[in-house]
Amino acid sequence: MALHKPYLDVPGTTIFDAEQSRRGYHLNQFCMSLMKAENRQRFKADERKYLDEWPMTEQQKQAVLARDLNRCMALGGNIYFLAKVGATDGLSFQQMAGSMTGMTEAEYRAMMIAGGRSPEGNRFVGEDGDAQAHRQPQGAAGQKG
């Protein structure tokens, strides 16, 4: 019998449940290893070599190399673990969170100062809020072309 997962219809959101955790175990444990300064140094010196020490999928490694956090999350990453990669890069949590929206750092910061993203239109997939799939990327990046 299927498990009850009422959170699959929240737009722009990946809930880190047991299934995602299983999928992302090695990806997240790699992130965790960056809590040690010597590991951060080794990773920065040769990212690919360091990643190859972990039994991660090639997709996961590519997503880390590209710093594509949305992709990392789809492949089982959890934001608190992925934050260790951001910390290694010297990024703040706000910079990391903003990177997943397509907005520039300044655009995202301005949105937060103005009161944050509204829940209106962003509660269920299929509404018309700014977090919905058809409105990505956000900010100036989404208005080009």
């Binding site: 673990f81 997943m100 977090a131």
Partner: protein, 285 residues
């Protein structure tokens, strides 16, 4: 006997800790956040507890994916501030209270809550930022602290209902300890925030303030709110708010006593990605 004198509720945003540690509290961005805690710092001096039972969550710091305890009580003599990737926060070591922590563990487990007992762990911003907000930058924290970590990282996290019932069990455990300790219980995390995906940056001030209203006046009803409402209305990381129900469940009125006195209420948007909420509730003497 020991007794719970008050409960404190506050967000534990890591950027708040960084602002304190780097001397930025007077900057225009941060000043309104810290102004909301001026009353609280004085209140802490005037109502110094003998012990703080501090409910928080670990953010992939002490607990990786190797082990994911739902409820973990720190029974060690001390807990070091963790290096979360930026170096450890320059804050005092947290002194524990192994005797009361062990007593609470035994009592609460016999009350059917399966706690994980942790004799060695570092504590991250989830625990140290609330201490900084309430106590400033002292050489040593004003009293011992029992860390109580709740899994809110991997779903499913404990329900609000279970957290509320756990708070009641913690109150019974505290009151069966023979030493006459004045204990505060703190619930931390939240309020609305989402740190991931295209919906990152979600804030719902209206829902947050209704949460505060309900936490004060009708926590039993609030405890029935399902996870999905937190996620949809307050963001995927807003789920941290279930931890506030542990502290609220430990207050006297839940066990038939008098309603708590609201000493302080504060709300501000934003701190980094997050809505900051803060309450102080006292049990009547």
């Amino acid at each position: 006997m020991a007794r719970i004198t008050a409960s404190v509720y506050t967000s534990h945003v890591p950027a708040i800790g960084a602002a304190i540690d780097h001397g930025k509290t007077a900057e225009p961005y941060w000043q309104p956040v810290f102004a909301g805690y001026d009353f609280s710092k004085q209140w802490m001096k005037d109502n110094r507890p003998d012990l703080i039972f501090l409910v928080y969550n670990d953010h992939a710091t002490a607990f990786s994916l190797e082990m994911i305890p739902t409820f973990a009580i720190g029974t060690a003599a001390e807990f070091k501030p963790a290096d979360e990737g930026y170096g450890a926060r320059p804050v005092p070591t947290v002194i524990g209270h192994p005797e009361l922590a062990s007593h609470i563990a035994q009592s609460v487990i016999q009350d059917d809550f399966d706690l994980t007992i942790v004799n060695k762990m570092d504590v991250d911003h989830g625990l140290t930022v609330p201490l900084s907000l309430m106590c400033g930058q002292p050489q040593a924290w004003p009293c011992p602290v029992i860390p109580f970590a709740v899994n809110v990282v991997q779903y499913p996290v404990p329900s609000g209902r279970r957290c509320f019932a756990l708070g009641q069990a913690i109150r019974r455990a505290v009151e069966s300890f023979d030493e006459p300790l004045k204990v505060q219980i703190w619930g931390t995390g939240g309020m609305s925030h989402q740190l991931q995906g295209p919906r990152a940056g979600l804030i719902n001030a209206e829902w947050d303030n209704r949460f505060l209203d309900r936490l004060i006046a009708d926590p039993a009803e609030l405890s029935q709110v399902p996870h999905i409402e937190y996620v949809r209305e307050a963001g995927s990381e807003g789920i941290e708010l279930v931890m506030w129900l542990i502290a609220r469940g430990a207050m006297a009125d839940v066990a038939g006593g008098k309603p708590p006195v609201l000493r302080h209420r504060f709300f501000h948007v934003p701190a980094s990605n997050t809505a900051v909420g803060h309450l102080i509730l006292e049990n009547p003497q």
